[in-house]
């Protein structure tokens, strides 16, 4: 099935949306691309709806696979299921509205969600104190949001695509990262050192819940009052819930605000307080510390991959090439500091 551009598909899209919204008529007054990611496309849609539960103006975002992209993450129907699970769990997300799995309209599946306002840019949030409202309140709310996500537990018939929950998520993740590094053919003794530390100090497996997988500053949207939506659900997996806390608090995701350990926006204690207000289980700080080490390895592997991608032709993105060049040595040095000899349980002199 050949992908069809959205502009060409306006009429059939209106027909689909009209039916989904139980309207007598639906007209798209605005239809334009929001961003052209390598894997997904997001389109802004404004609709005028006549009759039915959505009568009036409807502000939407349509998400579909990009025309050229070969997706290796979640499919759009899977992403929709995750968004719906989160919405039902009370997480602040853009409300998922309608999924179209047929290929008749765009030549590829898509879903539509209600549009939320604000910005997700991490650097802007860090620099602009007018964004995000009270930062301590924002950190507490993010903690509560995360705790709600972690209340989603296996088994879930609507999330079968997530596979069997892992017996040992920590060790699995370290092995996965090791394999990724091997596939790149990039020997890196510093990362090996950190991965070996992780292998020897992985926490004993405990709870497994839904983990967002990319819960960090830059992946949630804020306006001047506070949080408007948690985004980027394509890395969700069954895992150790503390992995999300580690990713959120890791030094590499503080955007230079190292002393603000909760994602560069507030003290860690605020974020933890919010989490524990909502969570049925207390935070295991040692476990979070372990996952912060893993977070640095994961980001280093991603940065190396991004740099490599520009070497093999394809997108000649300066941004990605610089990411691949600048971040790894910094992450390696931070990893070595986090796994200094004194931190090894059987340290050798």
């Amino acid at each position: 099935m050949t992908p069809i551009s959205l502009a060409e598909a306006k009429q059939s899209l209106e027909a689909f949306l009209s039916q989904a919204a139980q309207a007598s008529r639906l007209r798209l007054t605005e239809l334009r691309p929001l961003s052209g990611g390598a894997i997904q496309e997001n389109w802004l849609l404004d609709a005028e709806v006549k009759d039915g539960p959505h009568a009036g103006k409807l502000e939407l975002v349509l998400r579909t696979d990009s025309v050229s992209g070969v997706s290796d993450s979640r499919t759009r129907p899977q992403e929709f299921a995750l968004l719906r699970a989160a919405w039902q769990a009370g997480v602040t997300v853009p409300e998922p509205l309608w999924l179209n799995e047929e290929t008749g309209i765009l030549g590829r599946p898509f879903y539509v969600m209600r549009r939320v306002t604000g910005t997700a840019m991490g650097h802007r949030l860090i620099k602009d104190p007018a964004l995000g409202g009270d930062r301590n309140a924002l950190a507490r709310q993010l903690g509560r949001e995360l705790a709600k996500i972690h209340k989603i537990r296996p088994p879930r018939p609507d999330l079968v695509f997530l596979g069997v929950p892992p017996d040992d998520p920590a060790r699995d993740e370290v092995m996965r990262l090791r394999k990724q590094l091997d596939l790149m053919g990039y020997p890196n003794p510093a990362l090996e050192w950190a991965m070996r530390w992780c292998e020897l100090h992985a926490p004993i497996p405990e709870r497994v819940t839904l983990a967002h997988g990319d819960f960090r500053t830059g992946n949630y949207m804020v306006d001047e009052n506070g949080l408007t939506g948690v985004l980027d659900w394509e890395f969700c997996a069954w895992s150790d819930p503390m992995s999300d806390l580690g990713w959120f608090c890791a030094k590499c995701w503080r955007f230079g605000q190292d002393e603000l350990e909760a994602g560069g926006i507030a003290a860690r204690a605020e974020f933890y307080r919010g989490y524990e207000q909502e969570s049925e289980c207390p935070i295991d700080a040692d476990r979070v510390a372990f996952w912060e080490v893993v977070a640095h390895i994961r980001w280093a592997v991603i940065a190396i991959q991004q740099g490599e991608r520009t070497l093999s032709g394809g997108e000649g993105s300066l941004d990605l090439a610089l990411t691949g060049r600048i971040y790894p040595p910094q992450l390696e040095r931070d990893l070595l500091d986090m796994t200094a000899p004194a931190r090894w349980s059987q340290a050798h002199a």
């Binding site: 003794p189 510093a190 090996e192 050192w193 991965m195 610089l322 600048i326 040095r333 000899p341 059987q346």
Partner: protein, 133 residues
């Protein structure tokens, strides 16, 4: 002796011109890209000035850390380039660490930090801690 207008010098001037004369003239949405370009030029300049220094340091540290190191150029002959030699040493130490031969060893840790700092000095010198110099 180096020509006074060598590559590193040209990169430095190019970067200065970009930041002082071009940056203010471009649209807001292109400023980020200009800063990336300026950063790329700065890295290339430092890399040129550092020459073989960081590679030599890394190689010396790795030769000191891998187990039972013998001058392998004797075995491999002169066919191996210095890049290949460096890569081979990285593979060896990486494999030894993975196999658990260096768990928690202070000497290995210190060597790896020196290497990371040498690379960091090229890409982000401000991030090399004062205590590491």
């Amino acid at each position: 002796m180096r020509d006074k207008t060598d590559g590193a010098h040209l990169l430095k001037l190019a970067r200065q011109a970009l930041l002082e004369q071009v940056l203010g003239e471009v649209r807001d949405d292109k400023r980020y890209l200009l800063r990336l370009i300026a950063n790329a030029l700065a890295i290339a300049e430092r890399e040129l000035l550092a020459g073989q220094g960081p590679s030599k340091l890394e190689r010396a540290v790795l030769e000191d850390l891998v187990e039972d190191f013998v001058e392998e150029s004797e075995i491999l002959g002169a066919s191996e380039t210095s890049d290949e030699a460096l890569q081979r040493l990285r593979w060896r130490l990486a494999a030894e660490i993975r196999a658990g031969h260096h768990d928690g060893k202070a000497k290995v840790h210190a060597g790896l930090r020196r290497i990371a700092n040498a690379h960091l000095a090229i890409v982000n010198p401000a991030a090399v801690k004062a205590s590491d110099n």
